[in-house]
Symmetry: C2
Subunit: 636 residues, 2 copies
């Protein structure tokens, strides 16, 4: 199977076109202004300044996180996708300028990292646990591959090849384990961009070494005062934190730092695709099942613990003080994409859909300029950001972060979304997501029109005709899916969440897919303590939430009768009029008695409006909840 690459896919879908336009016109330019220290309200990034200092064009000290370079790389990668979406000569010119600046910082031996070049040239490669040199390099390689693939710009590719060769020269000989996985992803992408197997093999070596010697970091981490990630120390003994306690093929559960875990899985799934390594793929499948079966929020958010931004234990998914880093959901999408390259399996496409429409999108303000790092499923204004244990939970998206990993991760995912939609193998074209788009396949142009996420209908038009199978993902929530060809009912073969239809397609043939999108009441395994006795509302791919903005009563006091009918509605104040909300009658619980009494709280009928979760915290400051207490009438 091969993905239809970004340059051959054009998104036409109203919903995602709007998000992508936001990326090209607002978010990516905003990120650039941040990197150039031009946003008055944001703390200066210093990221580009560090490069100017590193090549001697400016005087000064290094500023920012030890991985500040990666912000520039992730912006370049985003800019590459932006250029694919919307040609922009001025942006090309500025990208070239930045690439040239980076090139001037590269050391004669290929080394590239402004922190060490400016501050500690003698300590290069001495502390892989904490120093993120391989992490920054991985992002640089990704950016180089993206500029090459989607914008035909090869300046950074030359830098990346020199950098990758430098890394290979060093780590083909001696042992090295990346403290934060990412280089593996970058090397695999660079391998595909250049065809040079050395980079693939270096990625495999990094993966294969990991966990073979659990004491490796303890033996190879020098004392290095001053290098901390955002305030906490990483102990070389904490091998669970970066998943280096167990060899990659023996991994069974998601543990430790969520983004590290998921970047590793992304690389493992990609490596399995490139090599056919079934042991590697089976480990990915096991951990995927562990995450989605025990450690994921209903929105797709993962990494429930603020402590070390980490996975925790099964069913520990606190709703108002969870973490659910935006980057972790972006990484879940990366991981699902790589799994889909290995096998068209609906569980991966469903997860991708869940992340995109919910946890990922919630990370960004509707205006494209403000971002959540932390994504709670309940916002309790009395607690968020105020009470110990809730310090990390914010009621509004800030404009930028000192540790700015999330905004560019969102940007590079959304801007490159086209690459996630289509794939093909010898005789089948796969459509993984019902996102309106046109793809240029080996069977010619194929178009998908979709009413998603608001309506359960899509239509695939085969422009040029041909004899092949169309395989369309049927979302797991679509209980009754009707397929038609040119309006006539057909029954495709259904397998692993895809409908397969072989046919001699005539030019202009239309494959219609329609399904109901009833409002769903979702129940969690009752071992998820904060969800017991509660429901979440969903419709189609969207999980919904309640916000104070739409209610006359405090949303955290609302109880839903088990049998109340919940209806779709439009025209929610403050949101685009075509967006579908949900409406029902609920009960607000309150007491005018003492803190504890023998009378149950009094319930007063109230109107209830739910909005898509991704749109929360875009209107007035208020409480929010995804999970709603339910009265018992729905129960058996």
């Amino acid at each position: 199977m091969r993905e239809i690459p970004l340059r051959d896919v054009h998104i036409t879908d109203a919903f995602w076109t709007a998000r992508q336009t936001l990326m090209t016109d607002v978010t990516i330019p905003y990120m650039e202004r941040i990197l150039r220290d031009m946003v008055p309200d944001a703390e200066p990034s210093h990221a580009l300044q560090n490069f100017r200092i590193a090549c001697g064009e400016e005087q000064g000290a290094f500023h920012g996180m030890i991985f500040q370079d990666s912000d520039v790389a992730k912006w370049l990668e985003s800019a590459a996708y932006s250029l694919a979406l919307k040609p922009d000569a001025e942006l090309r010119r500025r990208v070239d300028e930045v690439v040239a600046l980076i090139g001037r910082c590269q050391q004669p031996d290929g080394y590239l990292n402004t922190y060490f070049t400016v501050k500690e040239p003698e300590n290069r490669w001495k502390n892989l646990l904490e120093c993120h040199e391989l992490y920054c390099a991985g992002h640089m390689l990704e950016a180089a591959a993206a500029l090459h693939e989607t914008a035909g710009m090869d300046g950074l590719l030359e830098v990346a090849v020199r950098l990758a060769d430098h890394i290979c020269d060093r780590f083909e000989r001696e042992e090295g384990i990346p403290g934060h996985q990412e280089i593996e992803i970058g090397l695999l992408r660079l391998y595909r961009a250049t065809g040079r197997a050395r980079y693939r093999d270096m990625a495999l070596r990094f993966l294969n070494l990991r966990g073979q010697d659990p004491d490796w970091f303890a033996r190879h981490t020098p004392a290095h005062p001053g290098v901390h990630y955002g305030g906490y120390d990483i102990s070389p003994e904490d091998t669970v934190y970066n998943q280096s306690d167990v060899p990659v093929r023996a991994q069974t559960r998601a543990r430790g730092h969520a983004v590290r875990q998921l970047y590793m899985l992304t690389a493992m799934a990609d490596a399995a695709y490139e090599t056919g390594d079934t042991g590697m793929l089976e480990a990915c499948e096991r951990v995927f099942e562990n995450i989605t079966g025990t450690q994921m929020y209903v929105t797709g958010a993962v990494g429930a613990s603020a402590y070390h931004e980490s996975f925790t234990v099964p069913y520990d998914l606190p709703d108002s003080r969870g973490y659910g880093e935006t980057c972790a959901s972006v990484a879940m999408a990366f991981f699902a994409r790589q799994m889909l390259k290995n096998r068209a399996d609906g569980q991966y496409a469903d997860l991708l859909e869940l992340e995109l429409y919910n946890a990922v999108l919630a990370g960004m303000q509707l205006d494209g300029c403000r971002f959540f790092y932390v994504n709670p499923l309940q916002l309790d204004l009395r607690l968020a950001g105020r009470v110990p244990g809730y310090e990390h939970v914010l009621p509004r998206r800030p404009g930028w972060y000192r540790c700015a990993c999330c905004p560019p991760n969102l940007a590079r995912l959304i801007a490159s979304l086209g690459a996630y939609l289509w794939a093909e193998d010898a005789d089948t074209v796969y459509c993984h997501l019902l996102i309106g788009s046109e793809a240029m396949t080996s069977h010619g142009r194929i178009r998908l029109d979709s009413g998603y996420p608001w309506e359960g209908r899509a239509e695939v038009t085969v422009t040029d005709g041909g004899t092949f199978t169309l395989a369309v993902h049927i979302p797991a929530h679509a209980q009754t899916c009707v397929f038609t060809v040119n309006g006539e009912r057909v029954v495709p073969e259904e397998k692993n969440g895809y409908g397969y239809l072989w046919r001699v397609w005539q030019p202009g043939d239309r494959l219609g897919i329609t399904f109901d999108m009833p409002v769903r009441r979702i129940y969690a395994d009752p071992r998820v303590r904060d969800c017991a006795g509660r429901v979440a509302l969903a419709r189609g791919p969207l999980v919904y939430c309640l916000e104070d903005a739409d209610h006359a009563v405090p949303v955290l006091s609302i109880v839903l009768p088990g049998q109340a009918e919940v209806q779709p509605c439009r025209e929610i104040p403050g949101l685009p009029s075509e967006w579908v909300g949900l409406r029902t009658e609920g009960l607000a619980e309150e007491t005018d008695g003492p803190l504890y009494g023998t009378q149950p709280p009094v319930r007063t009928p109230c109107r209830v409006t739910a909005i898509p979760y991704f749109a929360w915290a875009n209107r007035q400051l208020g409480n929010m909840t995804v999970w709603i207490r339910e009265t018992d009438t729905g129960h058996t």
Copy 2:
């Protein structure tokens, strides 16, 4: 109103006699062995060794917390009460020995503190914020007063007078604010023991200075590296932590470190009693209302946040990761006792009862040798002590703590319980608690026999007769209370939770009090998030809980039908056979589906047994919960 002092009260009640015997025979001797470093499994206390080093009788370094001396003082205070309960010539001798040792450590100017004498004599009184010199002194004064009042032993009183004079000499002249309130309590007790107004006035000065100048600590706290309380730093700027931001009479809410807050309130209520200061008393009343109305667990536990062992915001009472330090509940009992000296008001007696039978008692193993510092209302074995945010929650009581404040606090409260029961003024004898006891009042001997806490009946026998009013507290949970005199129904005047009966009592007259003790379903204000949709079960003064030990299903999966009848029962395996448990039929919820699905969990009938909360964690290791999810049939 005056309390009937400990020496004039004899507890006869089966329930509390057993607890007190545990104190005299097990807990207080165990504490002594701890202080003497004689318990093999416990970390050495060094507390008595520090004194031997301070007076030059042994070589070595100071060990332990900076307030390690207070462990000795609290043991001496407990031993004083033990001697009142049970004469013991050997214990008297050992107390005398320890008192003499303390005396030899006292400096010529009256100063007494082994940490500073041994380690930093030049830094005496330089850091009131962190160094606990006044705190330790307060406990020494309490111990001296206790030995004087209850055991007629005045050796420590002489030491205490010299120490108190030294403190007065210093702090009558210069300003000083205690970093941890306690000296105020000690000075007021010493004032009563000696009649010397200077000590009362010094206590008032400490209270009155507090909060007048919120920057006082910031200006008067030198850098003093190495002095930390159990791992976290106290900032001199965090004036809320020790309630020094607002003058005492302007306090409205409980904030900051719970024990500091409650020791301050205890001293304030005592000071109001001694001086008639209505502004002081009104502040106590306001904060009492704030605590009991918004910040207290249903068991009486307070100080919900592990961060700084502190009060938090209204209704933030997490059940499985709360704090609820045993000392804070002991201090709630202290506070309630002092409020009762000011006014016979049922709300204070009810609180005292709640604390004694629930939060306080839960702090101790039934064997008297193991203790909880932290008292959660739910124990989730997957999380407790394992997952970040739950580090402080233990599933079993440990034998001792490095910071050993709680065990001796429990001991001194339980051993001196007699002093909490009776009071009198000109023409009324008050009975605050229905605990079987005999009191020697100015109207002769009065006896109370009680079936409490298992049965709702009590009988007061007036041994000698006389013309006076008997005022008996009617517990708030007793909805229908019937009074009789010698078996004939009488109707007392009910006022503020007390039944008042004036009468010419004949010798042997019996006042009977009977009331139903139905099982109560208790509902919390739904703003207490972890209690919404849940009930707690209670009967009489006892709050109940479910433990895995009594169940075939995991207790955290149990749901109670709203209308299921809950019946008292006896003979719970592993608990004394006369103790009353509760039994009903419930439903266990589980799912065999995915983490999230559209089917509600399946419910299977199960037998449910509840035990008194104070008895939890005395049998097998398991989950526990006070709050139980309830199906909705009980709701209107």
